[in-house]
């Protein structure tokens, strides 16, 4: 330390005599030694003050006091800087963990689109943040039935993702695609009501397709109604089914309804991220989607959702505000 002080004083006095680049360079190179000796910035200011007192005798009181002031400021500055750096470090740790969690979620909740005979299925699900609060679950275990669940967890991010994993395992335990939608919703409601806190719940539209008779049976737990297009009559019907959100009250009963699908009929299932336009207060999104879908009816399910997503995303100025999911089932 003493040696460093002498060295610093020498370098400083050289510089005061001649302010050239080479003297400045020597001073700058001292930093490495200072760091090696664990000299803090405030220590350096104190060394500087002592050196100045030696080099320039009778320095005005104000100048000396200003160094004391600087020492105190540097102490505080150093502390704040450390705090800031440790926060940055923590933030980075959290970011890495979130990324891993998102990867795990993607693996867990990966949806494979089945290809049952006679149906063309397409879907898109785009999360607004890293973790998706929407989830689509398909089941197709034999040639007789195919089922689909489209779900939306209230809230976003990690809590929603954790809740979603629970929904997925709930659906997995039901195992078969031929279960009645009303039964599926009742079972899931019990599971979620028991295990989730009061302000967390899930909306779900559940449909089962009887592949032999082309009958689609659906039930809804507080979910945005799906749209059914009847190609013969060229009309849309809302697949409305009043049922309470999953997880609000125990022992809720859900109803289910049958519809028959003919060639070229299709069903569009969405989450509220598709129909909700926050910045367009009087915009009737459902009518817009109906008209758009009608004009695209000659396309495949996949081409249809591509176009619908493209159009809605454009309307949202390419900034989604909520997780966005569409599933289209087309009878051919």
């Amino acid at each position: 330390m003493k040696e460093l002080k002498v060295q610093y004083e020498k370098v400083l006095s050289d510089y005061l005599l001649n302010q050239n680049e080479s003297n400045l360079y020597i001073g700058q190179n001292l930093v490495r030694q200072l760091m090696k000796n664990n000299i803090s910035p405030e220590d350096l200011v104190s060394i500087h003050k002592q050196s100045m007192e030696n080099i320039v005798p009778n320095l005005p009181e104000e100048v000396l006091n200003s160094f004391d002031f600087l020492i105190e400021v540097m102490v505080h500055f150093g502390l704040k800087l450390k705090e800031h750096q440790s926060l940055l470090l923590k933030q980075e740790e959290i970011r890495i963990e979130m990324e891993i969690a998102a990867k795990i979620q993607n693996l867990l909740l990966e949806t494979k689109i089945p290809k049952p005979n006679g149906l063309d299925i397409g879907m898109v699900s785009v999360p607004v943040r890293k973790m998706n609060g929407d989830y689509v679950h398909f089941m197709h275990d034999d040639e007789k039935y195919f089922s689909v669940a489209i779900t939306d967890v209230v809230g976003k991010g990690v809590p929603a993702a954790l809740c979603m994993s629970m929904v997925k395992y709930g659906l997995d335990t039901l195992e078969y695609a031929n279960s009645n939608p009303s039964y599926v919703l009742e079972v899931l409601n019990r599971i979620i009501e028991k295990s989730v806190d009061d302000s967390m719940f899930v909306s779900m539209f559940y449909g089962r397709y009887d592949l032999e008779n082309d009958i689609f049976t659906f039930g809804s737990a507080g979910h945005e109604p799906a749209l059914y297009y009847n190609s013969k009559e060229q009309t849309f019907t809302d697949l409305d089914s009043k049922g309470l959100l999953l997880g609000v009250l125990p022992e809720i009963k859900y109803s289910q309804t049958d519809i028959h699908l003919s060639e070229n009929d299709f069903i569009i299932m969405v989450t509220d991220g598709v129909t909700e336009f926050r910045n367009m207060k009087n915009f009737d999104s459902r009518t817009y989607i109906k008209e758009l879908a009608k004009s695209l009816r000659h396309l495949s399910a996949q081409e249809m959702y591509d176009k619908i997503f493209e159009n809605l995303n454009k309307l949202n100025n390419f900034r989604l505000t909520d997780d966005f999911t569409i599933v289209i089932i087309k009878k051919y």
């Binding site: 302000s199 309470l244 959100l245």
Partner: protein
Amino acid sequence: MNVNVQFRAEENCIYGIIEGEIDTFTAPVLREELDVINLKEGMNIELDLSKVTYMDSTGLGVFVAFYKKVIKENAKLKLVRLSKRLARLFEITGLSELMDIETDKKVEPANECI
């Protein structure tokens, strides 16, 4: 984006006006504001939502949680003067069957509570 609640208490009634947008960011604020209410048995709580310009499902979560709390204390909750858009949200989710909800009619809410 902000949410703001103003309460007025009259005997066994609490009348609140909620103003602003309720979304993921403001919902915790609303929850805290509602949690301040000292619930008592038989109490009537009326929340005026006519000045809520936007609400997403997180907002619904706050009202459901509050509704459950109110029921537990044997008190009553009524949501009044909902815009069409808000009312639709409660209808689709099946909550309008469960909770006492009134759409934007020309009522004088203060008198109703007395």
